[in-house]
Symmetry: C2
Subunit: 205 residues, 2 copies
């Protein structure tokens, strides 16, 4: 079977998972879409995963109990792993409110391929935006266990990146993301030897 | 969000699912590995999915009851869909013994992207090979509901391709696969307009 390294050589860049965590309305999807546009323009193959394209797909049938939320994130992380092994850069947008959930995702993906981005927009700003009207519903008690209102969001302790979108343009935030990511995934003259090194490390495990 | 068409332009080929169905030992994985090598050599990004890389991953926890087997194939097909939407050619190797299971997979993927390959190696030949020793176990009654021995395999009625590997080289079978597939997925001068047409049809839905 062709190895991950073979696929990364074909694509000319490394696979990785950018895991956006943060409150509803914090800007996770907006940033992922903007980042995808920039990466694609540089010839980098991306895949956005979010509630919209997995809830009705691989996660159809899962509800919002604690066990189901955990299984939701577990399956997403497993799908991320398959994409990374194909050399793709996955942009995953999930509230993933607890350290335990994010730790699990990181473990499944493999920490060397996992870039946790905490979209740290303050609750007040997220609630003010309330794009989907969910905060209003949660305040009226129509949604149980809504992260930030009636369920906790555990702030990431050591995310690879922390982005507060309030008062900043999408472009500025995307620039911050690119500066962090591009050196990690972009093809350059060292990709082959770098990929070989990684391949060897994996084989040695 | 970047569309499938954007990703196919970047890759220079179309996404598709090649769904290998057939008895255990019929040669599904062997053909998939050989096909992947040939496609990769032509710059086509592939992803093999089989029991080995999904049973412990997205399908961990699923057993071999009828409901679990169905859920197994359902999730695999949903993952296939995500890859196809990223422009990747998926080579999926699953016994998938019933018409109902394969119909479900085709429906989830979308029939226009689904190429069903029936690996029609006769039972006697599969049992003679018995690479994993499963037929011997099944004959001794140590495996229940083993396809071909104690559970039926429903022969596909209208597969896109039918390959009997007995008495033929892997190379000859792979050639048959390539001749069928390459025209469908290979980039050529018409890819852009073709991809646009497909994009438009999808949008119109």
């Amino acid at each position: 079977m062709e190895s991950r390294t073979d696929k990364e050589r074909l694509l000319g860049h490394r696979g990785a998972v950018v895991w956006f965590t943060g409150l509803s309305g914090s800007g996770k999807s907006t940033l992922a879409i903007a980042l995808e546009r920039e990466l694609s323009a540089r010839g980098i193959l991306c895949r956005i995963l979010d509630g919209d394209n997995v809830r009705c797909g691989i996660n159809a049938g899962l509800g919002f109990s604690e066990a189901d939320r955990r299984e939701n994130i577990r399956r997403v992380a497993e799908v991320c792993r398959l994409f990374v092994d194909t050399g793709v850069v996955v942009l995953a947008c999930f509230v993933s409110p607890t350290r335990e959930l994010r730790r699990m995702a990181r473990e499944i993906v493999g920490t060397e391929d996992f870039c946790e981005v905490y979209v740290a927009t303050p609750l007040g700003e997220c609630e003010r935006r309330d794009v989907k009207g969910l905060y209003a519903k949660a305040r009226r008690g129509e949604i149980r266990d809504f992260t930030g209102i009636s369920a906790p969001f555990e702030v990431p302790e050591r995310p690879e990146l922390r982005i507060d979108t309030s008062g900043r343009s999408v472009g500025a935030c995307t620039e911050q993301l690119l500066q962090h990511l591009l050196p990690q995934i972009t093809h350059n003259r060292e990709l082959s030897s770098e990929a070989d090194r990684i391949g060897n490390i994996r084989t040695e495990k």
